[in-house]
Each structure stands twice: as C-alpha cells, then as structure tokens.
Symmetry: C2
Subunit: 314 residues, 2 copies
C-alpha cells in the first residue's frame, strides 16, 4: 500500500494498482494472491512476495532506520502470513542516497532481529544509489494447502485479527503534526506480522488476505476471487480505545474500514470450524473477531451511511 | 552496476558496495556469488538474484520503456547465467512517477518477449509511486553443481565471451552528446544474457562471473574467492572494431577493462577442458577468447601502464 506525502505529478490516475497489474502483468502464471506459488515437489510449495517501501511515500521522511527496516520486512512477512506460509528466505534491494554507516548499522540490526525472530534468512541483495527505497522479496514454504483468496463460501463467518485503523489514525495524526500515542505508533511502525496465525489457519480458514490496503478493499478481493458477497456489521469491528474515541468524535468510520497499513489478517471460516477459532485465540493470545458473514453477492456494511475512499496506489 | 548521471550528495564514500554488503548483510547465509543458492531437494538447487535499475543512474532519462524492460530482466538473467542456472521465475517491483499506459504497454511487451525467449515466468510483483525504478528478483534451477567464483586453480585459462567495452563506450558517447553506432547501442540497451553459455559451462568451467561491473573488478572477485592471482594479456582482449579504434586513438584501455555493463561471462577453465571450449563456441555461435591464466597471486595486466578506476556503486 502507499500514501503520498509529496505532491508528485499524476498525469493519468485512471488505473488502480490492481487494474495495472491485471492489465499489464497477468500473463497467466497465477498473479492475484498475496504471494506467488512455486511448485517445487510433490508435497511442498514455495510462496514468494515482493513489496517496495519508498521514503516520503510509505513512511515519513526521517523515519528511523530501525523502523524502516522492521516495516520493510514485516509487510512481506504479513503477505506470507496471509497464505499460511512458513518464512524461509528473502532478498533485499536497497536504494540509498548516500552511505551513512550509523544508519546502515541501525537498519541492519533491526532487519536482522526481525529476520531472526521469524527464522527467515537474507540470501541475496543489491544496493544502488538513489532516493531511499527498500524492496524485499520474501519466500516461504507451505505445509499443506495454501490459504487463498478464492475459497470463501456463502455462510462462512468473516473474521479479522486484533484491531483495525490504528496505523491509519497514527498516520493521520502525523500528517496533522500531532504525536500519536505509543500504542498507535507501535501499530504504525512495528506491525506484528500474523505469521503464526496464518499457519494455524491452514485447513481451518476457507480464504484469507492481509488487510494492508484497508479492510474494505482487501475483503473485496476475497469476494471477487471467491465470487461471493459479504455482509459486515459496523458495530462488530474490533477497535482500540483511541480509534473508538476518534470515531465517536468524528463519525469517520473510514479510518477502520479503508485506512490500511493494518497488516492484520481477514479470513473466512466455515460453520464447522468456528470452534477451532476459539482455541486458536487462546493458543496464540490473539484476538479474533467475527465481523460478518459471506452472502451471495455485494458488500453490505450495516450501519454505514457513506462510502469510504479506499487507498489507491496511483 | 551503476553510474551517476545526477550529482547526488555523497557524504561518505568510504564503503564500496561489496564492503557494504560484507559489513552489513553477510549474516553467514552464503552471500557472495551472483546468485543465492537455495537447497530444495537432493538433486536440485534454486538460485535467486536481485538487481535494481534506476532512471538517471543505470539508464539515461528518456530511455525507451522497451529498452528499460529488456535491460532490467537481462541483467538478472546474466546473473543466473553466471551460475549456470536455467531461468525459472521472477518477481517485479516497479516504481513509477505516474501511469502512462503507452509506456506500460511498451514496457510490458518488451519484458514479456524476453521472458518468453528465456522461458522465465513472472509470478509476482509490486507497483509503487515514486522516481522510475525497476527491481527484478529472478530465480533459476541448477542441473548439477553451480558455477561459483571460488573454483579457479593455478594454471587454469581465463576466458571471456564476445567483446569487451562496447556498452561502456556507448555510454561515454551518450554522455558526450554523441550518437553511438548501432552495434554499440545494441550492446548497451540489449545485452544478450549468456544463459546458454552458462549452462554448458557446468562441469567445464572451474569458476565463472558476469562482468557487469567491468572485467578487472569482477575478475578480482574470482581471484579473492578462489585465493589465486591472474596474469592477463592486454593484446588478447576481444574488442569490437569501434572499441579497438577508440583505444588506438586514445590509449584508454579502461573502457574495456573497467567499463562495465558488458553482461558477458568471465570464466576459468582447467587445461583438461580446453578442447571443450572450442566445441562450445561452434555449438552456440559465441566467441570465447582466452585472455590470460590463473597464477599464484596478484593481478598482472601485461602491457598496461596505468590503473583504471573501476566502477563504484557509491
């Protein structure tokens, strides 16, 4: 996902990122999920995903190298999580305006700490000179059948992990020269990739996606890939105190529905597996909230009296 | 490799790219060859490589999207070639200042044509908004034992494919507002990755590298990884008519020794395999020239009376 801090020239905004990819880069090799599947054997699949973060676009200028490195890898781990993959290795393409050893030291330490935590190895890279930008390509393996966007069935419950809108509210406050609370900043700079959750959802969830572009937009990918609709209950959305207070004051539900940058998982669960969800909550210490159900068609958000403008990459 | 068209601030140029990678990103997982090795089974290895091209740094502003796409993939194919890999799949991270459909159409068509030619599949990607930049992560498989930088032995012959310095001379002419010849421009914009050559060198060459950073610098990687030296015969270097004429006029051998952007292979061959080289030349229609031999230590370039400044990424 991406936000513009700088007013870059935008001569033609008719294409969204999804349209762009569909139009120019879907050559029939299976583009469309958070990760690409690579068959490597009878009982094993590799998945791979790539994300670029650009200074002034995906993170504010002067963000600490610790936070940049963390987020650059975490957003890729989040994509692996959405497929239920076990992280395996990644490559790093790093574009730097200059060599600042302290910056590199901090960046490297932070990246290594997160990589170690999730047992993912850095196996290659490229460094170039230019505006600060980080591209990570992360690859994982799937034990079983990968979580896809395409498996949701009518009647399945729709769940999200933890809370919605914290990172988006933090970003809004930063843009307005306010200092976000510690909780909001943590969600913005150090989103926890739901890798373990994704893994235990293998064989349990019927579809899954990470909601880095915002719940409404990412859920709609599940709906289009699964050829179903959804009915969402606004009052059921899990919110932190800060976001609940903000919405109470402003009526702006869009921060939770379309804010993006949440890196939580949205997934669907058949009736028969609902009991499993409770045991997963206890086992992982993660909050999983049912926010609606899969229906025949459309996307109804009960209680919402306006539409949100979802995040657009261009 | 990289060249600076723009005068970007360079506050600390003490670290070369190699030092930077060694210092901050070599975490013991095998960084150091053109590609990273990934063990996936008993008789198969994956190799993966990543390269970023930035407008104004790696290609001139206003380079055609056809040429940009070609080169972005070709430089990665060249890295796969240097390991003897068979191209398998790649991901694309594309940063664009705006959406220009004609540009994308041309870029996509060119990328697809080259991908089809080398039977490599685009399996994922990311698009972001910012200064034009392309990062490709390409992965291939190895049939046998990969070509490494570390296998050169004293007495081995040192070979390069085709001619040296054509792309560097083209670049120099472009910077001086001259229009390069068709041959030089082709070598600059459409370097042919030596994928087939790399594959047939498996089991034949004792070490191999692509010379995208220039012969002198890239050969020195073979020497340090193999803990040997080399004696190169200046008169043996294979040159196109244009480069030979340029050197005759200027005495500037550095265009061939350190120009970079050649995307040819430099490899070493044991005495026992020298006959095989001739049959490879005939089979592939590629010119392979012996330019020297591996010795105990040092890098002697017979006939050169000055040192060249090799390409530095920072």
């Amino acid at each position: 996902m991406q936000r513009s801090l700088e007013a870059l020239p935008l001569t033609n905004s008719m294409l969204s990122e999804f349209e762009l990819i569909n139009k120019y880069f879907d050559w029939g090799a299976g583009i469309g999920d958070d990760c690409a599947l690579i068959d490597v054997g009878v009982h094993q699949q590799f998945v791979t995903t790539v994300d670029t973060l650009i200074e002034g676009v995906h993170f504010p200028v002067d963000t600490s190298p610790v936070d940049i490195a963390y987020k650059a890898l975490a957003v890729n781990l989040s994509d692996l999580a959405a497929m239920g993959a076990t992280p395996n290795y990644f490559t790093l393409a790093l574009t730097l305006p200059n060599i600042d050893e302290q910056w590199l030291e901090d960046f490297s330490s932070s990246l290594k700490a997160l990589a170690t935590e999730y047992n993912i190895k850095l196996i290659g890279g490229d460094t170039t000179k230019g505006m600060l930008s980080i591209t990570i390509n992360a690859t994982g393996t799937i034990q079983g059948v990968a979580l896809m966007r395409s498996g949701a069935k009518v009647g399945d419950g729709i769940f999200v992990s933890n809370t919605l809108g914290d990172a988006a509210l933090a970003w809004q406050q930063i843009q307005n020269q306010k200092i976000p609370s510690r909780n909001l900043l943590t969600q913005f700079n150090h989103p926890e990739p739901q890798v373990k959750l994704g893994q235990v959802l293998l064989g349990v969830a019927s579809s899954c996606i990470d909601i880095s572009d915002g719940l409404e937009q990412d859920l709609s990918h599940i709906l289009s890939h699964s050829k179903v609709g959804a009915s969402i209950d606004l009052d059921a959305l899990p919110l932190s105190n800060e976001v609940a207070q903000y919405i109470a004051n402003t009526g702006d539900w869009c921060v939770a529905l379309a804010g993006g940058d949440d890196y939580e998982l949205c997934f669907t669960v058949p009736e028969s597996q609902l009991d499993t969800i409770q045991s997963i909550e206890k086992k992982l210490g993660v909050v999983l909230t049912k926010i609606g159900v899969i229906v025949e068609s459309g996307l109804e958000i009960k209680g919402l009296d306006k539409t949100c403008q979802s995040y657009q990459h261009f």
